[in-house]
Symmetry: C2
Subunit: 203 residues, 2 copies
């Protein structure tokens, strides 16, 4: 056997394919992506892709798991931090998300549009229900004694943070070039937490 080197080379070639797949899938979506695109992007033979991952679908599953984690993994630790106040959570989530989304602007539209195609399929990956309903964040909101359902705050937060990236193709035609867009996103890092604090105060 060639265990040791297998592991190393596997990781290297496997990783090359996985990253190419992530890039191509994220840019074009599952249906528009061709396994040949991925192979070319990875600089390998098409057969190798199937040798390592058996099928387009299996490769896609692996990519999706990682992309979902990348998109939603930010939330869980912050929402469950007992050491921070609600206000600090707003700030951290906004800051972390916008920084990440500036680097990966096409991540949300990819994940959300693939989830639409088959929500059941990735339901277990999400586990949003448990993560959120029992989160410190929700408890802190309930302690405030507000009439407003906790998820409204979450929708507002995520909506204000993520939507500008989901709608980037449209919105950027309005704001002008990439620089202007980035400048607006930078402003939103400070603005969004303030807006949420206002909502909290009035609630």
């Amino acid at each position: 056997m060639a265990k040791v080197v297998k592991a190393e080379i596997d990781l290297s070639t496997e990783e090359k394919i996985k990253e190419a797949a992530s890039k191509v899938f994220t840019k074009k979506g599952y249906g528009n992506a061709r396994t040949r695109d991925i192979a070319e992007e990875a600089g390998i033979n098409l057969a190798l892709l199937n040798y390592y991952f058996r099928s387009k679908e299996k490769l896609f599953d692996i990519v999706m798991a990682e992309r979902i984690q990348k998109l939603f993994g930010i939330l869980t630790p912050i929402l469950n931090d007992t050491a921070t106040t609600l206000e600090e959570k707003f700030e951290k989530i906004t800051e972390n998300y916008i920084n990440m989304l500036i680097e990966h602007p096409d991540l949300p539209i990819f994940v959300l549009s693939e989830l639409r195609n088959d929500p059941e399929r990735f339901a277990d990956r999400l586990q949003a229900k448990t993560h959120l309903t029992q989160s410190v964040f929700v408890k802190q909101l309930q302690e405030k004694g507000t009439e407003i359902h906790p998820f409204h705050f979450l929708m507002n937060l995520l909506g204000m943070i993520i939507f500008p990236f989901v709608g980037k193709p449209v919105l950027q035609t309005v704001t002008g070039g990439e620089e202007n867009y980035l400048a607006l996103m930078e402003q939103r890092k400070k603005l969004i937490p303030e807006w949420l604090k206002m909502m909290l105060a009035k609630a």
Copy 2:
């Protein structure tokens, strides 16, 4: 020739195909949609689809034009109404959008994810730049003398309205069934305008 009847029958069969295409494309996206799916949904022969529309792509172009209009057509008349205040515009946009999105929850994710695939292609359909920069809405905001860029308000409004529908597959696993989700959306009709008024007041 068969002019008169051609026009009528064309409209009927053409419309059947167009509506089937709209349904299938919206649900699955261009890349995952099959012309055979559309033909079956329309209850017609596959060849008929090509007889009327020449190709999948041309049919898609027509569908996209209508879907873009459906998604963004709501905005223009309200944003340019000189008879309403900013506050009333918030209310009208929220009310109209949420009502429409309850009927067509998969519209935004479809349009936005297809726009991502080729933003240039539909740039002329959007014309967001002109429609917005010179809108009454923007002028009214500027009269308020706020430091905050007008587009922040638009992003917040659209983000809070549209995002819950874009993220429905994820968010609904948290909120529970369709009824709960609808109830939350109904609440947002009243809440979102209030939140925007607060942002305006503090700005």
